[in-house]
């Protein structure tokens, strides 16, 4: 590519290249303006909000310094939300990477009915999140859960497990639903990495006598590391920023057992009307997301070389 660029000025189109200095920024301008007006401005507004005493009832902005952050940090519910966000996202992604790796391998094989299987396996990811959460709300219903019915039928439990009402079980339920919907996305990305490995490498491994497991662990896994990292980090950003699953399933309950940063920011900022504290809560997610973004870029760079 650099060879093409070096060659370009030699061609007899110098006037066009000179016009590129005008054309290039001109074409880019609408995107930059759009993002500036509706992402950069609200982002800085969020920072100002978090340093002020603005509420929905009293929209005048008086700066109060770091009071909101101090108040938020002392709030038991906030600390719970922050911990839940980190723990639940990590647990989700740990499970996702293992399950998606296996699913990706399965999807690269040939078998009967592959189109239908692929369609069904992708359903959890392609279904709008809040609707997938509604399906699970019914699956995990305290009275009519078919999972509980099956367990009762097999004689394993009496009554019901109360998946969403039990403070110990509710976070597990939320994590499992997140895993369920993120696995197809991660698998599809990892699959692209597996498909990209040249056959010759596998042929060489077979000649050397490497069996299935050795090939998987010593050849495939190292080669798909970068693309797997991209899949995991993308999934982590999606889960960390998601409020629809906990909102629909538990509203953050019971007793804040599944409260995460986005739900708590919503309840405080929009429903509670305290825009300033809501903004402060939401901003706590930013350093984590920025770190993940940098990690994604690094992984993508490595993918480019490999």
């Amino acid at each position: 590519m650099s060879a093409v660029e070096a060659e370009a000025p030699a061609r007899p189109r110098r006037y066009l290249l000179e016009r590129q200095g005008v054309l290039a920024p001109l074409l880019l301008a609408p995107a930059i303006l759009y993002i500036f007006a509706l992402v950069a401005v609200p982002f800085f507004l969020a920072i100002i909000y978090s340093l002020s005493d603005v509420t929905i009832g009293d929209p005048s902005i008086d700066l109060v310094g770091l009071d909101n952050f101090r108040a938020v940090l002392q709030d038991r519910v906030f600390r719970r939300s922050l911990r839940n966000s980190v723990v639940m996202t990590s647990a989700t992604m740990l499970l996702v990477v293992v399950v998606a790796r296996v699913l990706a391998l399965v999807l690269t094989q040939n078998f009967r009915g592959k189109w239908l299987v692929r369609f069904l396996i992708l359903l959890p990811w392609t279904t709008p999140v809040s609707l997938a959460a509604i399906v699970w709300l019914w699956m995990l219903d305290s009275l009519f859960s078919p999972i509980d019915w099956t367990l009762r039928y097999l004689g394993l439990i009496d009554g019901s497990l109360n998946w969403l009402g039990n403070p110990d079980l509710a976070p597990v339920s939320v994590v499992l639903v997140q895993v369920w919907r993120i696995v197809p996305l991660a698998a599809v990305i990892i699959m692209a990495g597996i498909v990209a490995i040249p056959d010759e490498i596998y042929d060489a491994a077979r000649v050397d006598g490497a069996g299935f497991w050795r090939t998987q662990f010593e050849i495939t896994n190292p080669l798909i590391m970068p693309v797997t990292a991209v899949a995991v980090l993308f999934g982590a950003v999606v889960v960390f920023a998601d409020m629809s699953v906990p909102y629909v399933l538990t509203r953050g309950g019971p007793i804040d057992a599944t409260q995460v940063l986005p739900t708590w920011a919503f309840f405080r900022g929009i429903q509670g009307g305290d825009l300033a504290q809501g903004a402060a809560i939401a901003l706590f997610a930013f350093p984590v997301l920025a770190a993940m973004a940098i990690a994604i870029l690094r992984a993508v760079r490595r993918m480019d070389i490999g």
């Binding site: 396996i121 609707l131 990305i189 997610a285 870029l297």
Partner: protein, 286 residues
């Protein structure tokens, strides 16, 4: 011979393991929806009897609740709103992202690399961070409680992703193709429409699929900005309006989910290969 038999046994074992895994993965993905499908057609006394086998029809199935969904609720309105929002978001996204990606991918722009990375970072500023400070912005635009607020706001998510994705595509198209067309007397614009854009069709499809499904799926902005029933899209309308107090219209809720989920999944599957190549291409070349 024993070597041969062992190889055969291993191959048969591998096939059995493969089909077992296929079955397992398909089941975990499908069972919740299958349960939803059965629920849709269940009569109330059947559904709300804990002793009944939930996977069977213990009483004759009924279409009552499907009829209720379409006639007795605002579901049709939600679908209509979603389609309008999705079409507008796709149009805005294409109009803004294609020129930007062309500029980043094919024109020599000073600091183009830095701009591309900045645009990528924007994607990672999620709605959950911005919805609080965007709500007064939306109000100032006179769009509170209107589906048009979503038309304005969703491109902030779709444009960065699409620019990132399309930049990779535009970069991967050989420059010679475009230059040859221009040498042959095409304007830059003519060369763009004749040579560059057709070659980027997989990327464009990925953008259209992404932008339209995002419009149907996004939840936070839709929940924070739109509370009027007539303006809601499916992702918020269904979970909030098919519930009266503590009473969930379970059959209608499951029917609504399936009616929305299946067409979206079909579109995704039709374009899956292009979607993946669009995604990885953007990732690798962006």
């Amino acid at each position: 011979m024993s070597l041969h038999a062992r190889a055969l046994r291993r191959r048969v074992g591998g096939r059995i393991a493969l089909y077992a895994l296929v079955l397992l993965f398909t089941a975990q993905a499908t069972v919740p929806f299958a349960w939803g499908l059965i629920t849709t057609f269940k009569a109330n006394p059947d559904l709300y009897n804990r002793d009944n086998n939930p996977f069977l029809f213990n009483e004759p199935p009924t279409l009552d609740h499907v009829q209720f969904l379409f006639r007795g609720t605002a579901f049709g309105t939600f679908v209509g709103n979603t389609v309008v929002v999705a079409l507008c978001v796709v149009a805005i996204t294409l109009l803004v992202a294609i020129p930007a990606a062309y500029s980043l991918g094919r024109l020599s722009l000073r600091r183009g690399g830095a701009v591309a990375i900045a645009i990528f970072f924007v994607y990672l500023i999620p709605p959950s961070l911005l919805f609080i400070s965007l709500s007064p912005v939306v109000a100032n635009l006179g769009l509170q409680d209107s589906r048009w607020s979503l038309v304005v706001v969703y491109p902030t998510i779709t444009i960065p992703v699409s620019v990132w994705l399309l930049t990779g595509f535009f970069k991967s198209i050989p420059r010679d193709m475009e230059e040859q067309a221009m040498v042959d007397g095409c304007s830059r614009m003519g060369a763009f429409f004749l040579m560059v854009l057709p070659a980027a069709v997989p990327g464009l499809i990925a953008v259209v699929v992404f932008a339209s499904t995002l419009s149907a799926s996004e939840f936070i902005y839709a929940l924070a900005f739109v509370s009027q029933t007539s303006q809601k899209t499916v992702s918020v309308g269904v979970p909030t309006e098919l519930v009266r107090g503590d009473i969930f219209f379970w059959q209608a809720l499951q029917a609504a989910t399936l009616v929305v989920a299946i067409p979206i999944a079909l579109v995704f599957n039709l374009f899956l290969k292009r979607f993946i190549s669009g995604f990885t291409m953007g990732a690798v070349k962006g």
